[in-house]
Symmetry: C2
Subunit: 299 residues, 2 copies
C-alpha cells in the first residue's frame, strides 16, 4: 500500500498508472504535477489525481513513490526540480522509452541521491495522449522493464516492481544499455523506417497518384508513422548510438538484397523472404501461446 504517490505528467502513461493503482486499492492519495494547469484540472475531474499540486515541494514531501511520466526530453529538468526536496524513503521512477540517457540525466540531476532512482519503461501505449486517453487497464498483461542501477537497494526496486504489478504488468529486467539496444532494433528503427518511407513517397512529384493505390499492406506498414514526430525525434536523439548501429546493420542488409535483385537471384531473394516469414510465424505463435496462457491464468 502506497500512502502518497506523486505523478509528474498526468497524461496517458501517468494517468493510466494512477487509475490502475486506485482500482487495485494500492494507493491512498495521488498528487499530480504538470507545467500547465488545464491537464491537471482535467485529471482531477476524471478522478485520476486527488490533488493538483501547487508546488514541486508539496508533491515530493513525504511521497512514497514518484513517477516521472513527462516527455523524455524533460526528465533532467524535472529530476533537478525534485532533488532539493527529495527525502529518504521516497523512491523515484520514470516511464521513458530510452534508458541510458535517462540514467545519465538522473545522475546529473540527483547526484548523491541517485540510489533513490529506479529507472523503468512500461511497454504499452495508445495513439491518443493526455489525461482523457488514460485507461485503467493499459498495463494489464503488458511488460514493464526495470533497468536497475548498481546503487539501487533491492527494497526500492521491489517497491517499483510491485506498483507496476498492481497495474497488471509483468516485470522484466535488463541493463539500461541492453534495454536501449533491444528497443533500437524492435521499436525505434521500425519507426524511423516507416517515417522515411512515407516522407520519401510524399516528396515525389506523383505522390498523389501513389497514395491513391496504397492499400492495406501499406496502411499497416506505416501505421507507426502516424506517431508524434516530437516524441520520436526525442527518442531517436536520446538513443542515437544504438539506433545508428541498428540502422547501419539494416542498410547493409538492404545493400545485400539490392545485389540479389540486380542479378535476379531468385533463390537468394527467396531465402531472405522465407527466413523472415518463418521467424515471424514463430514469433506470432509464441505471442499467441503467451496470450492464451495469460487469459487462462486470469480465469
Amino acid at each position: 500500500m502506497f500512502k502518497k504517490i506523486s505523478i509528474f505528467g498526468v497524461g496517458l502513461i501517468g494517468g493510466s498508472f494512477a487509475l490502475a493503482l486506485k482500482k487495485a486499492g494500492a494507493v491512498d492519495r495521488v498528487f499530480g504535477v504538470g507545467r500547465s494547469a488545464a491537464p491537471l484540472a482535467r485529471a482531477k475531474e476524471l478522478g485520476i489525481i486527488d490533488v493538483a499540486s501547487a508546488s514541486v515541494g508539496e508533491a515530493v514531501a513525504a511521497a512514497d513513490l514518484i513517477l516521472v511520466a513527462a516527455p523524455v526530453a524533460q526528465t533532467e529538468a524535472i529530476l533537478a526540480s525534485i532533488a532539493p526536496h527529495l527525502q529518504q524513503g521516497t523512491v523515484v521512477t520514470d516511464a521513458g522509452s530510452t534508458k541510458s540517457d535517462v540514467v545519465e540525466a538522473a545522475r546529473k540531476a540527483l547526484g548523491g541521491k541517485i540510489a533513490q532512482f529506479v529507472p523503468g519503461h512500461p511497454i504499452a501505449g495508445r495513439e491518443q495522449n493526455g489525461p482523457d486517453a488514460a485507461i485503467v487497464d493499459l498495463y494489464v498483461g503488458k511488460k514493464t522493464v526495470i533497468t536497475q542501477l548498481p546503487e539501487n537497494s533491492e527494497h526500492d526496486v521491489a517497491r517499483v516492481a510491485q506498483a507496476w504489478q498492481q497495474c497488471g504488468a509483468i516485470i522484466h529486467k535488463l541493463s539500461p544499455a541492453e534495454h536501449d539496444r533491444v528497443f533500437a532494433a524492435v521499436s525505434h528503427l521500425p519507426h524511423l523506417l516507416a517515417y522515411a518511407l512515407v516522407d520519401d513517397i510524399a516528396r515525389k512529384p506523383h505522390a498523389d497518384l501513389l497514395f491513391q493505390y496504397a492499400a492495406s499492406g501499406f496502411r499497416d506498414f506505416t501505421r507507426i508513422a502516424g506517431s508524434s514526430p516530437e516524441m520520436w525525434r526525442d527518442i531517436s536523439l536520446a538513443n542515437h548510438v544504438a539506433l545508428l548501429a541498428e540502422l547501419d546493420a539494416y542498410m547493409a542488409q538492404l545493400a545485400q538484397l539490392r545485389g540479389l535483385l540486380a542479378e535476379r537471384n531468385g533463390a537468394g531473394i527467396e531465402a531472405v523472404y522465407a527466413n523472415a516469414q518463418r521467424a515471424r510465424q514463430n514469433w506470432i505463435r509464441t505471442i499467441e501461446a503467451a496470450e492464451q496462457q495469460s487469459n487462462q491464468g486470469g480465469d
Copy 2:
C-alpha cells in the same frame, strides 16, 4: 451476360471472381482449369466452378472471357497453352500483380492474337490461399487496374471492365509501366523492407531476446513479411527494374536520415518525421472519406 467464362487457377483470386459473377447473375457457366485435380474438385464442390475442365482446348473453346489467375511466373506457359485454341470473340485477361512482364510474356505467347489480351490487376487479397479462401465480396469497393494495350479494342476492354464492375470493383486505368512504378513504391518495396527487417533481426545472435520485446508497432510493420515468399520472390523479380529504382531512392533517403542522426540534428529529423505524419494523416482522411461516400452510395 457471359455465357462461358474459363478460369485458369481457381484459388482466392480466380475463385472469388467466379463467386461474385455468379451471385450477380452475370455468368451462365464457369469452367475451371488447373495443374492439379484436387483444387479443381474442391472448387466444384464449393460451387465456384460448374465444370472442372479435362483439357485446355475444352476450356478455351467458345469462351466469352478467360481469366488467368495463377502465380505470375506461370503466365507465359498458360497463355502459350491457350493460344492455339483461342478463337475470335474470346477476351483473355489476367490478375497478376505486375504488368510489364505479363505483357511481354503475352506478346511472346499469343503473337498475332495479342489484341485479345487485356491485362488487369485487382487490388484485393487475403492472407489465405486456395479455393476455400475464395469469398463472394472480395472485390467490393476495391480497385481493379486495367493496363490496356494499344492493340486492344475498346469493346474488349469494356467487357473486362464490366466483369470486374459486376464483382463490385472500381475500374482504374494505367499504362503497364505506370502500374509497375506505382506498385513498386506502395506495395513491392514495403514488402521487401519488412522481409529485410525480420530477416535481419532473426539472424542476430540475440534474436530471441529481441523478439521477446517486439510489440504491436513491430507486429503491424512486419505483417506483410508473413506473405508467401515464393509469390513475392516472383513479384520482386518480375518488377525488378521499378523496384530497384524505388529501393535506391529509399536507400538514399535512409543515408540522409543517418547523417541527420549522426550529427544529432533534431530539427532535421523532426522535419522528416512530421512531413511523414502529415502525409499519412491526409491519406487516411482521404481513404475514410472515400469509404464513407461508398457506404452511402450503397444504401
